[in-house]
């Protein structure tokens, strides 16, 4: 670097000018400060929020599971095995202790069926005699990676494909809860993401126009937002969801549900965008751009949007968990996504009555997934909110 960049304090600068010949850089000046871009500052600030960083890793794991669902799931999520109705979860063991000593061989224990003498009910007992050895990159059932590439390789699977392998137990029809949870992650996360993208489009256009042009449009949208926010959301969502024709395909329902969620979810984003526009409208550089003869579009896209992108990202990241919770509640009540589709809410529908819960408490595990995902997203949103304006103290 041949240019002298201004250092932090005036004293440093004077010192640099006095001691070094023109055109050379004083090695005593730390040039890494004050030259970082806004995004570098945001990243640095975000890294200070310990909980947010951990949450980011957790969310990354969720996203990995969602993207590579077929690879992670050991069993076909729709595969019915009536023999294993409500089979309890098997613990995963890595170290195999046999007569020959210790070795690294992941395995689970098989089941023994016992019949209760009084109730004559079949119950599963973990049988420590029967070891089911597992292999990595096991070839079993066919699926399509990313919905495109046909393959049959799975991260983990029993050596003999017919052996039971239920990490999170089995449901009413003997389907593997773990694999179903993995596939549910795919749908539930994507509902949140697609819903937020849709409400982001609505919110940015409506809120942006309201904040930029003001006047009657602003007044009307403000009233509309106040109105939508004063309504109890769940009954209204349910009303709209219930009006959906019941003969729609799963894909149509999926998009209709996301549309309903974003239709009522855009208000918060619009409010944030409008607020930022109002704040920026008074800035000198925006006025300068306008006097330079820039079109409305150019003023907005080139001069205003970069100044509050981080705020929009923050608001959007806080809206995702709300969307996921809403989808879960709707599906749980039977008004959202319907059975062949697997989402966290649809899975929890199985756990609705107390008798089922008493026999198979592991059916509540999708609930744990919801809580972890929503908590992680909230923490990330918190971290982003702190980092959104890195120039504040």
């Amino acid at each position: 670097m041949t240019l002298i960049t201004p250092a932090d304090s005036p004293e440093d600068r004077i010192g640099a000018v006095r001691d070094t010949p023109v055109g050379e850089v004083d090695p005593r000046i730390d040039h890494s400060h004050g030259t970082e871009s806004q995004w570098q500052l945001i990243r640095r600030r975000f890294a200070k929020h310990r909980l947010a960083v951990i949450s980011l890793w957790i969310l990354g794991l969720f996203v990995f599971v969602a993207v590579f669902a077929g690879f992670v799931a050991p069993n076909d999520p729709g595969n019915v095995k009536a023999r294993y109705t409500y089979a309890p979860p098997q613990a995963l063991h890595f170290i195999d202790r046999s007569d020959e000593g210790w070795s690294f061989r992941p395995h689970v224990y098989g089941y023994k069926v016992e019949i209760e003498p009084e109730a004559l009910r079949r119950t599963f007992v973990i049988d420590e005699e029967k070891k089911i050895y597992l292999t990595f990159f096991k070839r079993s059932w066919d699926y399509k990676l990313f919905g495109l590439i046909p393959t049959d390789i799975h991260l983990l699977g029993p050596e003999k494909t017919r052996d039971p392998f239920y990490l999170f137990g089995a449901d009413r029809l003997g389907r593997d809860m773990f694999s179903r949870l993995v596939y549910g992650t795919q749908i539930s996360l994507s509902v949140g993401l697609v819903g937020v993208i849709m409400s982001l489009v609505l919110g940015v256009i409506i809120g942006g126009a309201a904040g930029y042009f003001g006047g009657w449009f602003d007044a009307v949208t403000q009233r509309a937002i106040e109105f939508l926010r004063s309504l109890p959301t769940i009954p209204l969502w349910m009303g709209l969801a219930a009006a959906m024709p019941s003969d729609w395909s799963p894909l149509q329902t999926y998009f209709a549900i996301t549309l309903i969620l974003s239709f009522l979810g855009w208000t918060e984003l619009a409010r944030v965008v409008r607020g930022r526009f109002l704040a920026l409208n008074g800035e000198d550089y925006v006025a300068a751009a306008r006097y330079d003869g820039c079109s409305h579009l150019r003023v907005i896209v080139r001069h205003m949007v970069p100044a509050f992108t981080s705020h929009i990202i923050t608001a959007a990241s806080l809206a995702v968990p709300a969307m996921i919770l809403a989808e879960t509640a709707l599906s749980f009540l039977g008004l959202g996504l319907q059975a062949p589709v697997i989402s966290w809410g649809v899975l929890l529908q199985e756990a609705q009555n107390i008798r089922t819960l008493a026999t198979a408490p592991w059916l509540l595990l999708p609930g744990a997934a919801i809580v972890i995902a929503v908590l992680a997203m909230n923490f990330i949103g918190d971290g982003l909110r702190d980092a959104a304006d890195p120039y504040a103290k």
């Binding site: 109105f227 926010r229 004063s230 309504l231 109890p232 959301t233 769940i234 009954p235 209204l236 349910m238 009303g239 709209l240 969801a241 219930a242 009006a243 024709p245 968990p321 919770l325 879960t328 509640a329 749980f332 009540l333 039977g334 008004l335 929890l348 756990a351 609705q352 107390i354 819960l357 008493a358 408490p361 509540l364 609930g367 919801i370 809580v371 929503v374 908590l375 909230n378 923490f379």
Partner: protein, 332 residues
């Protein structure tokens, strides 16, 4: 104050009109209309369909007229207290209403009161003792309260009570008191059941209230007047209660606006999981069977409840804060 009140009432009436349009759209969305659904349900149960009744009904709700006329017919019926007829339950909607409205309101109001009674002391405590163990516990519980959906909390509570204590917490009355008259015994039975839904409904809102109050109070505690009051020899406890808490409560009153929609939404889901005899299971049934007149009336009613609550909160706020009363600042 009077002009403020009339302005607020006018906004509320306009909002109600807007709500009625939305509800009417929801009613109209499913294919077919009220009478075709009515005929379908009658013939499904094997009853004959009287042609004269059909014509009379079509005439009454002006089903062959343009949409605007239909809307007006529906709205004017509602204004005189006729909410339509539930073809699924074969009874007028207003009759179903009057049976369950008392319990619904009782549960929701108690939840609101509990929520405030719990969150205000916790919020003050965690702001005054910032970064103490209690503050961290409150913060963690608050985050959990926000992240756990109501129905999941209700399910887990149901499971824990059943598995560990052998108690079923569904319903609001034991079977022997289900249809009894109100008496002290029945009330005690009600009280022994109602804690579970109240606990579930109030957590989510309480978590948010604690966060709001904590943030407000922390802002206030750093202001110079607090230091002045302390310097003048006021005891810490009296100073906190007399000045910063009162200022910090102000924005909290305006949160009633969103607290009520939250409470109504969450009581809705909770009531279904815990099988409470409130309006919510009826709304779910109505929605699942596309009994849209009943559903529409219920959504309309829940909206009305929210708006009345918001109105009360605004009036309370105007009473506390003269700046709002005189229209100098908005109620946010």
């Amino acid at each position: 104050m009077l002009s403020y009140l009339s302005r607020r009432l006018l906004t509320m009436i306009l909002t109600l009109l807007a709500l009625s349009v939305v509800v009417f759209i929801v009613i109209q969305l499913p294919p077919g209309d009220f009478v075709t659904s009515y005929i379908a349900s009658l013939s499904a149960s094997g009853e004959s369909v009287d042609q004269d009744t059909i014509i009379a009904l079509r005439e009454r709700y002006k089903l062959d007229a343009p949409v605007l006329v239909q809307y007006w017919a529906w709205l004017s019926e509602i204004l005189v207290g006729n909410f339509g007829y539930s073809f699924e339950m074969q009874r007028p909607v207003s009759e179903i209403f009057s049976q369950r409205i008392g319990i619904s309101l009782a549960v929701e109001l108690t939840a609101v009161v509990v929520m405030w009674a719990v969150s205000i002391p916790i919020g003050i405590y965690s702001a005054v003792n910032q970064y103490s163990v209690g503050d961290y516990v409150a913060t963690i519980l608050g985050f959990l309260g926000l992240a756990i959906p109501n129905f999941l909390f209700a399910l887990v509570l149901m499971y824990i009570c059943y598995n560990w204590f052998g108690v079923t917490i569904t319903g609001l009355f034991s079977p022997e008191y289900m249809n009894a008259r109100w008496s002290l015994d029945r009330f005690l039975d009600f009280a022994s059941h109602v804690w579970a839904p109240i606990l579930v409904i109030s957590t989510a809102g309480a978590a948010q209230l604690v966060r709001v109050l904590r943030a407000n109070l922390l802002d206030e505690l750093n202001k110079p007047y607090v230091l002045t009051a302390r310097a003048k020899g006021l005891s810490r406890r009296r100073m906190i209660w007399r000045y910063p808490v009162r200022v910090a409560m102000n924005p909290l009153v305006s949160t009633i606006g969103w607290v009520l929609p939250t409470v109504i939404s969450s009581s809705f889901v909770t009531a279904i999981v815990l099988n409470l005899p409130t309006l919510s299971p009826i709304l779910l049934r109505a929605l699942l069977s596309q009994d849209m007149y009943l559903a529409g009336a219920l959504i309309m009613f829940m909206g009305l409840l929210t708006l009345v609550g918001t109105l009360i909160s605004d009036l309370l706020l105007a009473w506390i804060d003269p700046r709002i009363r005189l229209g100098m600042v908005g109620a946010n």
